[in-house]
Symmetry: C2
Subunit: 231 residues, 2 copies
DNA sequence: ACTTGTCAACTAACATGTTAGAATGCTAAT
DNA sequence: ATTAGCATTCTAACATGTTAGTTGACAAGT
């Protein structure tokens, strides 16, 4: 066992491909590392190693860290250091609350204004989900799951919505990594998605909201159950 | 008439008091100037004058501008310039949508978990609102209005909620500046607040949500009506 | 053993120099 | 008169030097 505060491992995607500003790329790389728990909570980020590893100067790294701080993924102590933030049960609860608020409003609006083309896209996604479960492709299903929710938000016509939803539930995303994939849960998830899809297809706002509430309501208990072992 | 793109006026709060980091202070000052429309949409922010005016170097100004960009208040064109963002009707609609989603979830939770002390605080705020209307103190009422909504969010126990709500509806805040204070509207607002307050006091989630929906629903038509004259 | 004071090392925050790309105005050619 | 090329002059983005504050270790005193 080492100190409670460990240094960051230098296992980052190494190269920086050539697209977007340096700040954006650095931010993306660090964000991914934190969300995937490659950088564990409490690890302190030191600028110098990051600069050396990524082959950039301190300015873009500092900018990227500032953005991470505003997203709540790191805690920066002035004149001292920057640490990957812990995520408390309170923060997760807040993330779930915010996420649910947005998803419920989303699903209501989509059920109200659904176009034929949108219905077709959702239908295609649903069939993809079934297919991936038949093939036992867990990561694939996980992706299709996110796409499903992403499609709904896209259909509202509000551009920032998906970003906001993702930002407010970043801590939840981190916690979800720790959830082991429960076999039965996948099938349940599909069934819940189908219920949501059907309610939307019927343009039944109320039913769609209830279905979404039931769907999202499954998450919190599983995280709380996990809390018995982790900080 | 000058060019469609005007330079920023150097009428900023001049001095920088001594609290918080420079970046934070600069960010706060600029944000206020943008939200109050002292910096009109389309005006381009030039770093040099700002640095000179505020007596700081370019680094904190750059950081502050980066934060404003992530909030959507400015559009930064790489290697070219930074302009105060326009706010389109679409963005305002999105802000209202997001705001409503959060307020509805908030009011439901508060109605569910209200404590005696919280009820007392809300009651005090309601009486303050009545008082301020009697005294014809419009700015005072505006502040009490914001406090009312702020209290509700505070009572959820979620710390970031108020920040998120404010951030997602920044464009709405800017648009609201343009709304002339309609005399009758103030009294209506008070009545709507009272309806919300009563529903919460009765711990009636559903009624509280409906009352809040009705309250927030008043805003959008007034902004759309304003659109007939402005870009 | 435990506290307390000092100091050295490290950090983010800030200042400033450098670079590359975009916009604008000018000139020249059609 | 209109447009195409060119150069000047902006800008943000990036690199790097400087400063001041925090931390942690060690030593001295209790």
């Amino acid at each position: 066992m080492s100190r409670p505060e460990n240094i960051d491992a230098t296992v980052l995607p190494r190269i920086e491909p050539s697209e977007g500003s340096l700040t954006q790329r650095v931010h993306h790389v660090l964000k991914h590392a934190i969300l995937s728990l490659d950088f564990p909570p409490g690890a302190n980020l030191r600028k110098a190693p990051l600069c050396e590893r990524l082959g950039v100067s301190r300015a873009p790294v500092a900018d990227a860290i500032a953005r991470l701080a505003s997203e709540g993924l790191v805690d920066v102590v002035p004149q001292s250091g920057t640490r990957v933030s812990y995520f408390s049960m309170d923060e997760i609860r807040e993330g779930v609350f915010l996420r649910e608020a947005l998803e419920l409003a989303t699903v209501a609006k989509v059920a109200r204004d659904l176009t034929d083309d949108q219905r077709k896209q959702l239908s295609r996604n649903m069939r993809l989900q079934e297919l991936l479960i038949e093939d036992d492709d867990i990561p694939g299903f996980y992706q299709a799951d996110e796409d499903f929710h992403g499609l709904l938000m896209e259909f509202t016509g509000f551009r920032r919505l998906a970003d906001v939803a993702q930002t407010v539930s970043l801590q939840v995303s981190r916690a979800r990594i720790l959830l082991l994939p429960t076999p039965g849960r996948i099938v349940e998830t599909l069934a819940e998605h189908q219920t949501i899809f059907e309610a939307i297809s019927n343009r039944d706002e109320h039913a769609a909201q209830n279905a979404m509430r039931a769907h999202l309501g499954q998450l919190m208990p599983r995280i709380e159950q996990l809390e018995q072992q982790k900080p």
